[in-house]
Subunit: 346 residues, 2 copies
């Protein structure tokens, strides 16, 4: 059982704990995901996919399952939807770690490191094929399936475009908050909401409601990502205690965008920041990382990011409450999920 | 215009030239594919996808288009089908080259070499998303689209499994013809037939006919692959004149399987063969490659592979002729395509 789940045993729970309403879905998913993968052969591919899908919080599929339950969607439709969000996420993480040269993920070796790049690529390819296999499995009428397919494919495509904008921004001295917004919207906006949207499509909700849920994701996805960027500067992000991994790989985060555009940096600070971010990770020292973290703090970028995460989470909660047909209980549960996204400490 | 297309200008054409019936589809595809990609942004992703989809024979989409035309399928349905076969093939080639460390593809630098691994991975991810976007575009009723989705996803999944069997066989002393058969069927069997099958689904042909077309692919796909393995031992495979790339990367080809199982090798020959195939490509000398090619020739593996390619092509032609509803003109054209698959010299 992972750290997040064990929060249930504590007497008092804080907003930073995995949300109560997601604990039951998270538990169901554990068995479901293993059962789905069990049949996979050859063994080498099976082992790699098991490793790739182990140890995470399963936030995306839990969200899909919680929302599907709330809308009364039957398990035969919710389960494939929950699984496809997990497969998509896992495939992207495998590619992300290869692209960034990240050696750690969830306090274990990343997949390319433990299983080699060739098998890691195959595992991601299998996971992407599994995303679409789940679309074929959902028990719905064919018009509905076509809508689900369009939604899944659209999120897949947007995420790739966002990832490319992210790659393009590495060590770019002209990177600013508008570039950041474009990248983060493409990369995380629709992605976090996919499971909720898919459940809503199956439940027969109308287009206006679906659009409203996508807009909720446009707020919550970036809020979640910004909290990730903040956690990267602490020891708790699942990289075996390493601090500042995003700085080592030159990730164009909201902190980097804010510091360059609004940080009021001197020319020499600006040059050094860009130079450290552009430099190969093997050549980036702990001292460089410490200097950048300190700079982000001094020039107000850390406070700006914290504020942005909170504001977006609040806006997500507001938009969710305005979505037609949401009960007050479901709205309260969503609010606890949104607060978790920006107050979690891992 | 590539080599294959220019064959049309010669006075006499041989079975090794790109088939006449595919020349018109090949030409139409050139424009169609560029138009499809044109909208892609950011520019860095656009450039990578253009590079990834340039210069090939476009056999798979040409086959889809030729067969769709023959069945009277309208262009609005054929074009997405043809494109999706090209996107799927291009995505796999990108991953294949990264997995194998191949520096050359179609006489140019492979994508990871020219654009870097991170962007190459993104290009492949975009192409895979585009495969499924094409499924959403095909103008058919939704029951038909669901069948198409199942077929595309099944080919995607099987190909990944085949690729893993292929990776597992590298430098494996126990690799034999039965292992080879399992890997090649999974990796290439359904893959080559996908465009024909999809056209047949849209044309409303029955399940028996569709099954028959899959079985045609089960013969033609491996025939095509075996010819590829034979060409790899010549200078004409699009790797800037390099010979024996498959040997350098330890690929478990039909030649390797035959030599180990039926080649009547001495213990020292067997040990050396496995050792060369298992060795890192940077440590494999031209002399090693020459020795393996000579061994494959001496122990009858080259002749066995040639015979296998021809037999499977003939069997594919026979099965195609037995498929209900195929005119004699279409059967003749298919026969010219099958002969091309095994008599082409690049």
């Amino acid at each position: 059982m992972n750290q997040a789940g064990s929060g249930a045993d504590r007497e008092t729970r804080s907003a930073g704990d995995f949300p109560d309403c997601l604990l039951q879905p998270q538990k169901r998913l554990q068995q479901l995901i293993l059962a789905r993968i069990e049949v996979l052969r050859p063994d080498s591919l099976h082992r790699a996919v098991v490793a790739a899908t182990s140890g995470g919080k399963r936030l995306r599929p839990s969200l899909a399952m919680w929302f599907g339950d709330a809308l009364g969607v039957p398990a035969e439709a919710i389960e494939p939807i929950a699984c496809l969000t997990e497969w998509l996420h896992s495939a992207f993480l495998i590619h992300d770690d290869i692209q960034d040269g990240d050696q750690w993920r969830r306090d274990r070796e990343s997949l390319w490191k433990s299983h080699g790049v060739p098998t890691a690529l195959n595992a991601a390819d299998w996971l992407l094929s599994a995303v679409y296999e789940e679309v074929t499995r959902i028990e719905v009428d064919e018009n509905c399936r076509a809508w689900l397919l369009r939604s899944v494919q659209d999120v897949h495509r947007r995420t790739v475009v966002g990832q490319q904008l992210d790659l393009d921004g590495r060590g770019d001295p002209a990177f600013n908050l508008s570039c950041y917004e474009q990248a983060v919207q493409a990369k995380t906006g629709r992605y976090l909401a996919l499971g909720m949207v898919a459940s809503a499509i199956v439940a027969g909700l109308d287009e206006e409601t679906i659009d409203s849920l996508w807009r909720v994701g446009d707020q919550l996805g970036p809020a979640f990502q910004i909290q990730d960027d903040l956690l990267d500067m602490t020891r708790s992000k699942g990289r075996a205690g390493e601090v500042g991994n995003d700085i080592r790989e030159g990730k164009p985060s909201i902190l980097y965008a804010h510091a360059l555009e609004e940080g009021d940096l001197s020319v020499s600070e600006c040059d050094r920041l860009v130079e450290v971010m552009a430099r190969d990770r093997a050549q980036t020292s702990d001292q460089d990382v410490g200097w950048v973290i300190d700079l982000f703090d001094r020039c107000g970028s850390v406070e700006f990011a914290r504020q942005q995460a909170r504001t977006r989470a609040q806006e997500g909660i507001r938009l969710f409450k305005e979505t037609p047909g949401m009960s007050s209980e479901v709205c309260d549960q969503f609010a606890s999920i949104a607060r978790f996204a920006v107050e979690r400490n891992r």
